[in-house]
């Protein structure tokens, strides 16, 4: 009835997967030869599919076409080609994903495939139409994420760029390959991938439609009329043909989309705070705080103007920057859709990836592209100094790693967390100054950077200890202390701190009162728990050793 490749295609489209039986011998009638098994029920269900008829028609079409070619009847060939049997997958999608949220849950895979296929070269290996459709859908998706400001995490790896966005409560992760890497491996079955892509493009198209309508945007997307008139240039024909210039402008990601019901200004109305049942004030306040943080995060780059130099990945950076409210432009010769030129005075950040750059404007920062990505992951604007041209960049940490208590936390991450909390590394600078009075003063600035990484968080206690030590030293030396009697200050007692201390006391007493056997068990449990902490300490010590070794090396190299 159906040929084997057709059957496999149908299984992929319908979402029927091979099944591994528990008792292979029974199913295989005594032999243990490895075979692929499908459930009978699934196959019977498959037969009710109307696409099966379309497959048969296609087989007949191919046969007739071959005959016509063989007889060189070109008019017949044309006629057959015009009436080629086609099918649509809409009903399958409705069947597999009865609700929109189901579709959103499965959209990861679809996005990865679409982005992957849109980077393929347009040779005849797979249909060029599929590649074009994938490109269109991926551009639409990116525009949606920009319009809804839902990007949360970015990670640049050696494989590709991982993005994570939060859409309608679902966390969606997808992987985008680099534009310039392409060696197609030979052991990948292209037909299988093409079938998957066929299904996923349809799914993504419908999801895009729904998402656009949820945001009150026109679908298929149209550029906003105002911005479109700005973009109109005289030499537009240099970039693309008229038919393609629209999608090229859309894919430039520099313009905003038109809405169904156009609103003149976007006013973020303050939503009324309704307490959810069962929540007390604390939780509500926490939620409010979180929401405010999210709002602040979404507008992180608002007001900043970026300019991308030629050698940085334009699409990725444009996407990320626009997702957080910034404005971005690039050189006219790279791509269509650049809004302002390099000579614009209001540019605040210029993103460069070269070792040096000739002409430097004063009122803008020249930074490397990692700054943008690290800011997104840290959810705040990081200090720009670490990312200047020619500076060794801090490592790009993965935002997908969630450290539990006691795990090793790399010092860079600690620094970022400190910045998030608002503490500036001011205390650390004091200590550094003391240490470096003995060393060369020329190296002060560099050393500070290195030492900052080594410092711990509890600076207050250390400062106190240091003071006491100094006082003791002075006393031992016989100098008179500069201590004066001053009226006492009322120490504000922190009630929270007191509570904590009380609880700790109670715990200690309870431990003391345990029986020997119980204490033995308790010790064992604690040992197991603290294993992680011990490992983290070990790793930290290793890191310190490594950093010290580097410092020593640098010093030697300079001297």
């Amino acid at each position: 009835m159906l040929s084997l490749p057709d059957f496999r295609r149908l299984c992929i489209l319908k979402g029927i997967y091979p099944h591994e039986p528990k008792h292979k011998k029974k199913v295989n009638k005594g032999s243990t030869a490895p075979r692929t098994f499908y459930l009978m029920k699934d196959i019977r269900f498959l037969l009710h599919e109307p696409i099966v008829g379309k497959f048969r028609e296609y087989k007949i079409f191919v046969r007739k076409l071959k005959k016509a070619y063989g007889k060189t009847e070109w008019s017949t060939v044309e006629r057959l080609r015009e009436n080629k049997p086609t099918y649509k997958l809409d009903h399958i999608i409705k069947e597999r994903y009865p609700s929109f949220i189901d579709a959103l849950r499965d959209i990861d895979d679809a996005l990865c495939m679409c982005f992957l296929f849109s980077t393929f070269a347009r040779t005849g290996k797979c249909h060029v139409q599929t590649i074009q459709l994938c490109r269109r859908l991926s551009v639409e998706w990116m525009n949606y994420v920009i319009a809804s400001r839902s990007l949360r995490k970015v990670f640049i790896s050696i494989k590709g760029i991982y993005y994570q966005a939060e859409v309608m409560g679902q966390l969606i992760t997808w992987l985008v390959p680099y534009q310039f890497s392409h060696d197609h491996p030979t052991d990948v079955d292209y037909r299988v991938m093409a079938t998957f892509t066929e299904f996923y493009t349809t799914l993504l198209g419908f999801v895009n439609f729904r998402l656009y309508h949820s945001l009150n945007l026109l679908y298929p997307p149209k550029l906003d009329a105002k911005t479109q008139s700005e973009l109109k240039e005289e030499d537009e024909e240099d970039y693309a043909m008229d038919s393609e210039s629209y999608i090229e402008k859309l894919s430039a990601l520099s313009a905003s989309l038109a809405r169904v019901v156009s609103s003149a200004d976007e006013e973020d109305a303050e939503l009324d705070q309704f307490p959810v049942e069962g929540e007390d004030m604390e939780k509500m306040e926490a939620r409010e705080k979180e929401q405010k943080q999210q709002e602040a995060q979404r507008k992180m780059f608002q007001g900043l103007k970026f300019f991308l130099n030629r050698e940085v990945p334009r699409e990725s950076l444009a996407f990320v920057i626009r997702c957080f409210g910034g404005e971005v432009s690039w050189d006219k010769s790279i791509c269509i859709g650049s809004t302002y030129d390099v000579t614009d005075e209001t540019i605040t950040h210029h993103i460069v990836d070269r070792p040096n750059i000739d002409k430097q404007y004063i009122n803008r920062y020249y930074i490397q592209p990692q700054w943008v990505y690290d800011c997104v992951n840290a959810k705040i604007l990081l200090p720009v100094e670490d990312y200047f041209i020619g500076v060794t960049l801090p490592p790009h940490l993965s935002p997908f790693v969630e450290e539990k208590e006691g795990d090793y936390v790399p010092p860079e991450k600690l620094k970022i967390m400190a910045l998030q909390r608002g503490e500036k590394p001011a205390n650390e600078q004091e200590e550094d100054n003391d240490e470096e009075e003995e060393e060369d003063e020329d190296d002060e600035e560099e050393e500070e950077e290195d030492d900052n990484a080594d410092e711990e968080e509890d600076d207050e206690e250390e400062a106190e200890e240091k003071n006491l030590k100094e006082m003791e030293d002075k006393r031992s030396q016989g100098k008179s202390l500069q201590v004066k009697v001053t009226p006492g200050k009322v120490k504000v007692e922190n009630p929270a701190r007191l509570e904590q201390e009380e609880k700790a006391e109670e715990k200690r007493l309870a431990i003391m009162m345990m029986k020997k056997k119980e204490k033995y068990l308790y010790d064992k449990i604690m040992f197991g728990k603290k294993r992680k902490v011990r490992e983290a300490n070990k790793l930290a010590a290793k890191r310190k050793a490594h950093d010290d070794a580097e410092k020593a090396k640098k010093k030697k190299a300079r001297k």
Binding site: E20, R81, K94, A103, D106, L133, G160, D187, D189, S398
Partner: protein, 462 residues
């Protein structure tokens, strides 16, 4: 006689006729005696009238018409003559322009000879083709057309046209296949989840007519694997990784390599072969010569073997039949044994009452063991779920870890060299999540065996 004379005359009148006598003139021969001809007869008008002058005149007229397009006498004076006033200044400019055109066109200014040959060389316009203007039914057709015009002016339309207009327009579905194709880049999408299902008709009717939608089995909605669709690479895979996470990733890759190396070593060890066991020439010789040389040693060995065998044979021959006494004894013993066992069992049961505590302890132990086993089995099942299942002929081969060595790490995004292919990664991910079975590239299988034949030239050499 008259005929012969006529013949002579005709022959003589031919031009170039030579007489035998050179002094004789052929025309004299002809016009010796002129025969009298009646010029009034129609028969003789053609033969004996001299129309040369008229012919000349007409010829001249035709010549004039051919060359100049009309009679010279009818032409105006201006067309034939011009007044030569000398060379005006305009002539210089005029001369320049044609020279320029000549210079510009060059050889192209002269028309081709072939075109010249094909042109008419007489100025008389060619005659019109009368047949082209002849239509057999011209009048009738004209009349019909006029009548039709009059009717159309009134509004009456002939039947054929009425039928054409009434026919419904054909939906030109040219290239419909291209627009309806699933991967058409301009295809339309609509709100698939917004519309309610249109099954409003009677379910019995739908079932009988085959229009009922078959329900999708619930089991198909479950995902075949708990793994997430996109697995993010470890933090050591960043393009600018943190030192320790990079080391951790390198360690993992190193472990994999060590494992592979160990397996290879194991295989080699298993295949290893003790060199001493290899046959030397001495042992080969001995093996070949066995049975042919050294007969004395054989006899001694054979004698020793015989003695041992006899003793064994003796022991077997003494077994006899059992007597009645023996059978009775055996029966009594059996009964005794059974009784003993029954007693023992009873006492055991009674004593169990006192062993309750230890029994309880042993039961508890067993329960603990079964519980532990259950937990282990469950944990194993859970672990199995995240493993790729064995679905086909090939086992799942996980791809190599994507890792860049320390000296390959790029300092900046510009110098980054991507590692690994995302196409392969996606393919393997699909296999890992049990969506497809692991497949290998199709091998080329020959249907017919290949026969190797040496060429004759080769046969001579070898």
């Amino acid at each position: 006689m008259a005929a012969a004379r006529r013949l002579k005359r005709v022959a003589a009148s031919q031009p170039g006729f030579l007489t035998l006598k050179p002094s004789l003139n052929p025309s004299d021969l002809v016009s010796g005696r002129r025969k009298r001809v009646n010029k009034n007869k129609k028969k003789n008008w053609n033969k004996h009238s001299d129309i040369n002058d008229v012919e000349e005149f007409l010829e001249d007229v035709r010549h004039q018409e051919r060359t100049t397009g009309g009679l010279l006498s009818e032409k105006s004076d201006d067309s034939l003559f011009f007044l030569d006033i000398g060379q005006p200044k305009k002539a210089e400019q005029k001369v320049e322009e044609p020279v320029e055109t000549k210079k510009r066109k060059g050889k192209a200014s002269r028309p081709l000879r072939i075109d010249l040959i094909l042109q008419h060389d007489s100025l008389i316009p060619p005659a019109k083709d009368v047949l082209a203007y002849q239509q057999p039914n011209a009048k009738k057709l004209r009349r019909i057309a006029q009548k039709a015009e009059q009717l159309a002016a009134k509004g009456v339309v002939p039947r054929r046209q009425r039928q054409l207009l009434n026919r419904r327009p054909v939906d030109r579905t040219a290239k419909k296949s291209a627009t309806e194709a699933n991967n058409n880049p301009d295809r339309e999408y609509y709100d698939i989840w917004g519309q309610e299902s249109k099954e409003s008709a009677d379910p019995w009717y739908l079932q009988q007519t085959g229009k009922k939608h078959v329900k999708r089995p619930e089991k198909l909605n479950e995902k075949p694997s708990v793994l997430p669709a996109v697995e993010v690479i470890a933090p050591g895979g960043s393009y600018n990784p943190d030192f320790l996470s990079h080391q951790a990733l390198l360690q993992e890759a190193h472990d994999v390599e060590v494992k592979k190396q160990k397996q290879e070593d194991k295989l080699e060890r298993q295949l290893a072969f003790n060199k001493e066991d290899k046959a030397t020439e001495e042992t080969v010789l001995r093996e070949q010569v066995e049975g042919l040389v050294e007969e004395e040693n054989e006899e001694e060995e054979a004698a020793a073997n015989d003695d041992e065998e006899e003793v064994a044979v003796g022991a077997i021959a003494l077994a006899e039949k059992k007597t009645e006494r023996q059978r009775k004894r055996e029966r009594a013993e059996k009964i005794k044994e059974q009784q003993r066992l029954a007693n023992r069992k009873q006492t055991d049961q009674q004593q169990q009452l006192f062993q309750l505590r230890s029994i309880k302890a042993s039961i508890k132990q067993r329960e603990q063991k079964t519980k532990a086993n259950q937990i282990k089995r469950k944990a194993k099942q859970e672990a199995q779920k995240s493993q790729p299942r064995r679905l086909g002929k090939l086992k799942f081969q996980p791809q190599d870890l994507e890792v860049q060595l320390s000296n390959e790490l790029a300092g900046s995004l510009r110098q980054l060299k991507p590692e690994g292919s995302i196409l392969k990664d996606r393919f393997k991910s699909l296999q890992k999540r049990n969506l497809i079975e692991p497949r290998d590239r199709a091998k080329f299988k020959r249907r017919l065996k290949v026969k190797y034949v040496e060429k004759r030239a080769f046969k001579e050499i070898t």
